[in-house]
């Protein structure tokens, strides 16, 4: 009987399970979220259409502006730091090193990538303690007065950024390193014969040829930072006030603490639109600065 199954049908059977999952858990809920965003729904009574009511509330909601500003700042700072430090570390490590040292370095930088954010944040929460924390203890040798890392509105978001960079720099470092090793030595040879200085070679050869990897790192990091939830919950719980609250945390609170499902869905729709726009922007921008050699 199997032999009678045509090639076409076999194709659909192979992708079937994935397709069903995709329709049931991605496409379906996305459409439902858009639908729910036009309703008032508190779980207890059935959803009630209220037109653009939720969207009118969004525009007037000062907390939404705050959480979007926090998220954008967090994403921008984390992307710039992880991507640029990744380049610095990759260039620094791309040389002949003793085998055991290389293994130790790779383990040290990459292992945090695998550790769950919630665990990493639980450890950092103690290190960041104002009076008893290890970070402030070592900073005081540099005459830095104690910093309230997690409880002051100036520093809370920066703490989240630092932990994000600490956890993820190993990933951008290794992707950049792999990109560096794909650049052929002949190009550097030719540049040297033409009399180019190492610094010139770095900015004219290394960086342009790394742009596909850089684009990848920027895309991955922005998608990840726009949905960061775990580290903020564990480190600051969004505080003080809303100083470090992200969009997805606000969405979660509205949906599962206030049971304001319609409003939460409207927030979800704005996030979806925001990410879609950002993706298009990155694709469009990448035509201008990414070189596929």
């Amino acid at each position: 009987m199997r032999k009678a199954v045509s090639e076409k049908l076999a194709g659909y059977c192979f992708v079937g399970p994935s397709l069903v999952g995709y329709l049931a858990f991605v496409v379906g809920p996305l459409i439902a979220a858009i639908g729910l965003s036009f309703t008032h729904y508190d779980v207890l009574s059935p959803p009630r259409l209220n037109g653009f009511g939720n969207y009118a509330r969004l525009i007037a909601d000062p907390r939404l502006a705050t959480v979007y500003r926090n998220t954008a700042f967090f994403a921008l700072a984390s992307v710039s730091l992880t991507v640029s430090l990744g380049v610095l570390l990759a260039v620094a490590v791309n040389q002949r090193l003793p085998g055991p040292l290389k293994y130790a370095l790779r383990t040290a930088y990459f292992f945090p990538v695998l550790v769950g954010m919630i665990y990493a944040a639980m450890v950092w929460k103690f290190l960041f303690n104002r009076d008893l924390g290890v970070v402030n203890y070592y900073l005081h040798f540099f005459q830095v007065p104690p910093i309230a890392w997690l409880t002051s509105s100036n520093w809370a978001l920066w703490s989240v950024i630092l932990v994000y960079v600490w956890k993820n720099v190993g990933f951008t470092m290794l992707t950049t390193l792999a990109g560096l090793q794909n650049i052929s030595r002949e190009i550097y040879e030719a540049a040297r014969i033409d009399g180019a200085m190492p610094v010139t070679a770095f900015f004219r050869i290394t960086i342009p040829l790394l742009t596909p990897v850089l684009l990848f790192n920027v895309t991955i990091t922005s998608i990840n930072t726009l949905q960061e939830f775990d580290s903020i919950v564990a480190l600051t719980n969004g505080g003080p006030g809303d100083a470090s609250r992200s969009v997805v945390m606000y969405l979660y609170d509205k949906a599962f603490r206030s049971f304001d499902m319609g409003y939460a869905s409207a927030i979800a729709v704005t996030l979806f639109g925001f990410i879609g726009l950002l993706t298009l922007l990155q694709l469009w921008g990448s035509r201008r600065w990414v070189h596929y050699g």
């Binding site: 032999k3 076409k8 076999a10 995709y22 979220a33 040389q95 450890v123 008893l132 600490w166 991955i220």
Partner: protein, 295 residues
């Protein structure tokens, strides 16, 4: 492809013409930078490990203890003797992460194989469509997902977490990229010999895909093991909680009172990952980093 990549990632090529390895001084500076930078990478783990073996009273000593002094194993025993069912959390995490991993290995390799070697109408469009879900955070769909699971009566069961994670666009992409490296002739020869599509996949293609399956399996296991958001939304009884969720509850039960016990719990949660990483570093790195290069 994945295998070849692992080699290059692990062995930096020495380029005489590369200005950053040829010049000795920049080599020294580079070494200093990476070695100095590795200190803050490792220090939190060292503090965590030492604190887990220190009595709670001495956990906040300053200057901090970087090496255990009194080997206070009691913290680990406390975990299993307290009212918090720590062993249950561990088991639940293994169960959920293991099931999700097996499910993804099957669904992703089947779909990846079809996208690489089976011709059917709408193949490329479907593939592109699936990839768009990479851009979409779970939080966008969480409200309808919750309502759906709740109407199916699956809230506070592990199925609410396993089902949405049973397939994954990244995994499909990764497996497709691997199967594209399997020569077309090999697949067609098996078909001409009368093997069905499924037999070709199962007996010819899948055995070749072991390295890719290992990478995908480890990455999926680690991600599920660490996931906090889905369990937070769906699980609410102690008996069902996974480790990250239960740990957070644990840190609330003990408050700030006993840091050492909390750190002991983190050590136990991280240990399986460390073992996995030391054993299978090449599969993990080639799987995660390789996608950057081939993508």
């Amino acid at each position: 492809m994945a295998n070849h990549f692992a080699e290059t990632a692990i062995e930096p090529r020495i380029e005489s013409g590369n200005p950053f390895s040829g010049v000795r001084l920049s080599g020294v500076i580079g070494t200093v930078i990476v070695v100095a930078g590795s200190v803050p990478m490792v220090a939190p783990f060292l503090w965590m490990f030492t604190t887990s073996l220190t009595s709670g009273a001495r956990a906040f000593d300053l200057p901090p203890n970087w090496f255990p002094k009194d080997w206070h194993f009691q913290n680990f025993l406390t975990l299993f003797q307290s009212n918090v069912p720590f062993a249950t959390f561990l088991w639940n995490s293994f169960e959920v992460a293991g099931t999700v991993t097996l499910a993804q290995l099957l669904t992703c390799s089947m779909a990846g194989y079809a996208f690489a070697h089976v011709r059917f109408r709408g193949r490329n469009g479907l593939f592109a469509l699936l990839l768009t879900s990479l851009m979409m955070p779970m939080q966008v769909t969480i409200v309808p997902l919750f309502l759906m699971m709740s109407s199916l009566g699956l809230v506070d069961t592990h199925w609410a977490i396993i089902l949405p994670l049973a397939t994954n666009a990244f995994g499909i992409f990764m497996m497709r990229q691997f199967f594209l490296t399997v020569p077309r002739e090999l697949v067609e020869a098996a078909r001409i010999d009368g093997a069905t599509q499924f037999a070709t996949f199962w007996r010819i293609a899948l055995p070749l895909a072991k390295p890719a399956l290992a990478s995908l399996g480890i990455i999926t296991f680690v991600n599920t093991w660490n996931s906090y958001f889905l369990p937070l939304v769906f699980l609410n009884s102690w008996e069902k909680m996974t480790l990250p969720l239960g740990m957070f509850a644990l840190s609330n039960v003990y408050g700030g009172g006993n840091v050492s016990v909390i750190m002991a719990a983190v050590v136990l949660a991280i240990c399986p990952l460390l073992v996995l990483f030391l054993v299978a570093q090449r599969y993990i790195i080639s799987g995660m980093v390789g996608s950057a290069i081939k993508g």
